[in-house]
Symmetry: C2
Subunit: 301 residues, 2 copies
């Protein structure tokens, strides 16, 4: 099986109460693909500038991620600078430079376009639709978005959402998008547009999965040391879709719940250190061991 992700490949400058990094590998497609690489073959689509070196590619390639569709463009790589306050719940953006991402027009290779699954990370919804159109055969397509696109491109976003199977979105943003303060109603409203599953990401509270006939939720994995939340949502999505593509077989309720578990585990490792530092050296044994711990922490019947 194979999974293609389109999204940002970035340099991030991040300050949290527990440290800072002036320039490290980041971006939604990077966090997603590293997480998904534990379960399946992953291909990354996105542009990078002249400043993107083999050192950064190595982080992806060491985990077996296929980087052939990373497009080299003259200029600088997408750059994001942000900080977190003491509570770590909200990212405050200090600087965003689109750079080579400004004129990005995704063109997928034949191999990427014929992937079994596709993840449209948080980019402009018209770009998401272009990629979706190139991946007609994908059996399961996930999509993330953010308040910026809800504010500036809502009609496009509605079309993009109508063309995917699963929306993964922050819970504040699904309320904003639907105008429904009640989360269950908001999820129902999104499913009425087409998707057969909605995942509301709830930060440290975990994530909730809605399908037309079911509800499931997992808490965030409890950690005494959270150093950098950047990329947690993308790592969640990577664990979730990576498992569904590579190991689940049929996408039934049991598969979706196990995928939620892997998403939770990958997100939890992501936030333990800065950027890709922890997931970059993670092992499958560590993934399984934390999944077992999560199962025992939620066992109740």
């Amino acid at each position: 099986m194979s999974l293609t992700v389109v999204g940002s490949i970035a340099f991030d400058a991040v300050t949290t109460p527990f440290g800072e990094r002036e320039r490290m590998l980041g971006g939604s497609a990077v966090h997603f693909s590293l997480a998904a690489s534990f379960f399946t073959d992953v291909r990354v689509v996105g542009p990078v500038g002249d400043d993107f070196t083999q050192t950064e590619l190595d982080v992806l390639e060491n985990r077996g991620v296929v980087t052939a569709d990373i497009e080299r463009v003259s200029g600088e790589t997408f750059f994001w600078k942000g900080h977190y306050e003491y509570d770590l719940n909200t990212a405050h953006t200090d600087d965003t430079r689109l750079n080579v991402f400004g004129d990005f027009e995704p063109k997928l290779s034949e191999t990427s376009a014929s992937s079994d699954m596709l993840f449209l990370a948080n980019i402009q919804p018209d770009l998401q639709r272009q990629v979706r159109a190139q991946c007609e055969g994908a059996g399961f397509v996930g999509l993330d978005t953010m308040n910026l696109w809800i504010d500036t491109a809502k009609p496009s976003l509605e079309k993009a959402i109508s063309e995917v199977d699963c929306v993964l979105i922050n819970d504040a943003e699904i309320r904003q998008f639907t105008g429904e303060s009640n989360l269950a109603r908001a999820a129902t409203a999104v499913m009425a547009m087409g998707p057969r599953a909605v995942i509301a990401k709830q930060g440290e509270y975990g994530a909730a999965l809605f399908t037309p006939s079911s509800f499931f939720a997992l808490p965030g994995f409890p950690l005494e040391d959270v150093r950098d939340p950047t990329g947690a949502g993308d790592s969640f999505a990577g664990g979730f879709l990576g498992y569904l593509d590579g190991e689940a077989g049929e996408i039934d309720q049991q598969a979706l719940r196990t995928a939620m578990g892997y998403g939770t585990v990958l997100a939890s490792y992501n936030v333990e250190e800065f950027g890709t530092e922890r997931v970059g050296r993670l092992t499958r044994d560590e993934v399984e061991s934390r999944l077992e711990a999560l199962k025992s922490m939620t066992a109740f019947a």
Copy 2:
């Protein structure tokens, strides 16, 4: 087995986006005891004024709650007026009149003082300690508190907490109380003061249980119609301690987790309608049916 609760017995005026009530039965001890009444014998301790009639007592007595220790005092019953915005997450207080609660000095009857379990609902921590001292023999004591007492009576609150087995507290308030933004660390800090269990109440996200050796969390029961969140935390505590006292037997991890489930179920019924309206006519069958639904919504292994 028997369970005594000390806390407020009140008239509430509540406005939410889904309706309003100008004067209805409320108060932490009322919500707690109605919820606990499904599992064990409950005795309420607290003062009421001349305006408190048999109509209000009937709500409690119809559920078998023992009202003999409700103290009649000349004056008016405690009154709280508040409203909720569209998102229902935060109660905004418009008016608080302590009335007969202002000079309350709890004196427990011999029967109440010899209860097997005790819940110190959210009242001034020196009052909580007075009651705790009168109930020396209680085998398991729970305590709730709020930001007001953290701000104005922290040393007393620390002493009160050191004398109980389980603290149930909003997650924002446990962070404020301990100065720890990380919830796991905040819970550890509270347990270091004495309690063997801490429950962080997380509103619609549910509740998390910490013990020295374990973590467990349940999501809030998903509801499309939430009309009035007032008393949800007290109904949770009532379901939780009621089950532990009346049905659990030994208080081990399994018992605590099942108690968390009953707490979640009672809180969910509480918020479906205003005040005590829904729990007042709830049946045990409905409780069990929602507990089963919750189990199936969280089954993952």
